[in-house]
Amino acid sequence: MRRHAAARFAVLATGAGACGACDYRRGALDPASPDAMLIQILWWVFFWTAAFVFTGVLVALAVALYRGRGRATAQGSSPDVHPDAALERRTERAVLAATALSVVILVSLLLASVFGGRTLFRSPHAPLHAKLVAHQWWWEIQYHGKTASDLVTTANELHLPAGVPVDVELASADVIHSLWIPNLHGKRDLIPGHLSHLVLRPARPGSYEGRCAEFCGLQHAKMDLRVIVEPPAQFSAWLTAARRPAPPPATASAQRGAEIFARGPCGMCHGVVGSKASASAGPDLTHFASRAWLGAGALPNSALNLRAWLEDPQAVKPGVQMPPTRLPAGELDDLLAYLGTLR
């Protein structure tokens, strides 16, 4: 009961409106890694300090107003050009004291920030490597193994093992993007011509929202990265499955779909390991059907949505580089059947 009241108070105090806060994904305020946790602790240190300073200033202002109004009533409004020197000195000393206090507060915050930052970027040893390449407007993800055939290429879904640091290499294929997974870490820009690294240390299994944070053109809004943190055993199982080529199409319809994919417009840009399609300009589709979203967060991945997406991607995600797929209705059904087998 008391907790409920406290929550209501928080909602009122933050101006969030009637219990809208209950169903929020709380992003940076819901850390799922030691790094995000550190930043969150620092956030609350800064927040409460700021709240203290803000209250102090407003109280001082209110008292000043009260006293000043009172004096105006008592003494009229003749201007005071040469105030009493002793009183003026006292006032200036008060200003000096407030300034000194501000300096102390700021220096403390500075130290907290600098030491927090040093802990944050003390690169731990990372046994797993992944590479993230940002494109307009999707994410290409690669896991390198011991041999070349172990390479896994996927898109828009980053799988990570819980409790294992992962060294993510970051690059951009076109313009500047920025990787942001608020539950796991702060941002890191992906700048063409600059390689960079970010070590992610997810601790709590779950599914998290990542997205591009740097304005990167028309579809900056729809450039999401779904991050799936799993227990290490589950992650290994996923990785092993991801290394396998796409299963050969079983039904006749799916087989026709595979043909259409390879010789038709799809194969110009997309690749499916284990088929004739090997292009890499667009997202790799080897295990496409197991992904939750279409078009980097544009639509949930369902047969209905996929049809709409294929027929007119521009209606769903205006500006996206994918052209509409113009096929007779039967062929489109075959293509959808094939895409549905890519698990």
């Binding site: 409106g17 407003l58 107003l65 201007p79 009183l87 930052g117 702060g186 960079s196 500006g319």
Partner: protein
Amino acid sequence: MTTASERTQNDAREDARLRDELAFTWQLARGLRGWFSETNSQVIARRMLVTAFVFFALGGVEALLMRLQLMQPANHLMGPDRYDQLFTTHGTTMMFLFAVPVMQAAGIYLVPLMIGTRSVAFPRLNAYAYYTYLFGGLLLYVSLFTNTGPDTGWFSYTPLSNSQFAPGKRVDVWSQVVTFTELSALATATNLIVTILKLRAPGMALSRMPLFVWAELVTSFMVVFAMPAVMLASMYLAMDRLVGTHFFNSAAGGDPLLWQHLFWFFGHPEVYIIFLPALGMVSSIVVTFSRRAIVGYLPMVLSLVTTAFMGFGLWVHHMFATGLPQIGQSFFTAASMMIAIPSGVQIFCWIATLWRGKIELRTPLLYVLGFVAIFVLGGLSGVMVASVPLDLQVHDTYFVVAHLHYVLIGGAVFPLLGGVHYWFPKLGGRLLDERLGRVSFALAFVGFNLVFFPMHLLGLHGMPRRVYTYRADAGFGTLNLVATLGVFVLGAGLLVILVNVLRSLARGPVASNDPWRSATLEWSLSSPPPAYGYVHLPCVTGRYPLWEGGIAGVVRDMDPRQRQVLVTSALDAAPDHVYPLPGPSLWPFLAALASGVTIVILLFTPWAVPIGTVLGTICLCGWFWPRAPHEPLLAEQP
């Protein structure tokens, strides 16, 4: 032997004669040609103020449209292309076409009146600056209304803004608008610096200058150092796009980060360029309505100067996410946090002044109180974004949108609106309605916080900036709805101000010289002042001349048949010599037109450079063509 009363009568007759002669010498040019040749600094400043507020309204409408689009998830009011043009134009308008020009216009109008002179030092340069600014703004809006508005953000990061990813003319328009309006800002800053340092009334030593004039002086120096960086950057960008240089192309040895350094080396000082003059307005208002001298004049001045220096040392906090080395980041974190100290000192001094004052709670002071609350909150969230770890979470999110609007609207627009209510009698000659003023303040204050406070939370919850839409399951709907509803409250507050101004101009009570019983020189003039300002240039013996027994003495024996100003020494304002100012001329307008034509041709071909050189040379020859030595404008009176 004359009696005292005869002497007074003689003086009055003499003053009347002087008024007539000055009015004749300084009369405004007439007709259509006259309208374009006018160089009187009050007239130009008024036009500049009106223009800036028109751009403010346009930028506000853009903001309203964006808020309507974001009101609910997956909204279909507009697509990404229109949205990107809107937020780019909104940012560019508010920074380049409203905030900087409006503060400079306030300086151009008020500084000569406050320091006791007749005009700015370079009236023709002033007219040129106004027209370049106007043409730059028109170019931006012509392109927006023809659906070729810039769409890469007001920061226009490369390579998104290079010719590969931004084909067409949109970014070219943006870079020319920036170059052009910053040219105007530089010209005005130079003008203000010289005016303030050389044309002050005799006796107005630097230590007696009103704090608003100090703020304009410091700001103008910042403009001189900051604007060339962005002009250079925008010219590099234009060259990359137009003639294939590779300043920002990493594939050819350039670097996209160079753009960010150049842009933010200007971009961060820009914030202080916008809000230092506003702090000067706050000081004027606080002094007048607490009926006492400011507490800590010297610390106030030093704070302004310190802010100006430090403002150039923290641009990298816009680039923490690019992954610069740790030690460098710590330096910029320290600088970004410590710049809160001079701002804090000023806040403390104002509170102390109110504490020891006799407060008259009028509308201008209400806006100042609102400013303190909003600005302190914005300053505190500024300390947060100065911290590298925190910034990595909130950078490029709605938290920063909230922060920057708290700083810029709270720190600059609220004082400006207070200033509008305060100085309106001096501008419009009539009083604003106090009741409407209070209503406008209440609406603006509540509306502002409704719009921008929820954005802090949106950012922390994960909403990035510059997105034209968001998914329903993201959970951003409620707070965005609150923010959009707040816009209507804020907008209503601003509309009430507009109504108040129009109503007052039509039938407001006529203002006396000094309706607030203020301390500074501009209030010794009629409202509005005549084109020549002062009949006799005043002499000054203190910081608050009108509170210290009125104007201490006057300068006599200046020739009223010439547009003369008195040049004084930079530190102590000791009279040095009389300097004649040029009269109206069409050439500044023509020169601005030539620059405008050049800039437009430059959108298409580099041949604009030689064409512009020829046009510019012709105009400057006309501008500086030697005149015959001065002939008295009036025949000797009998």
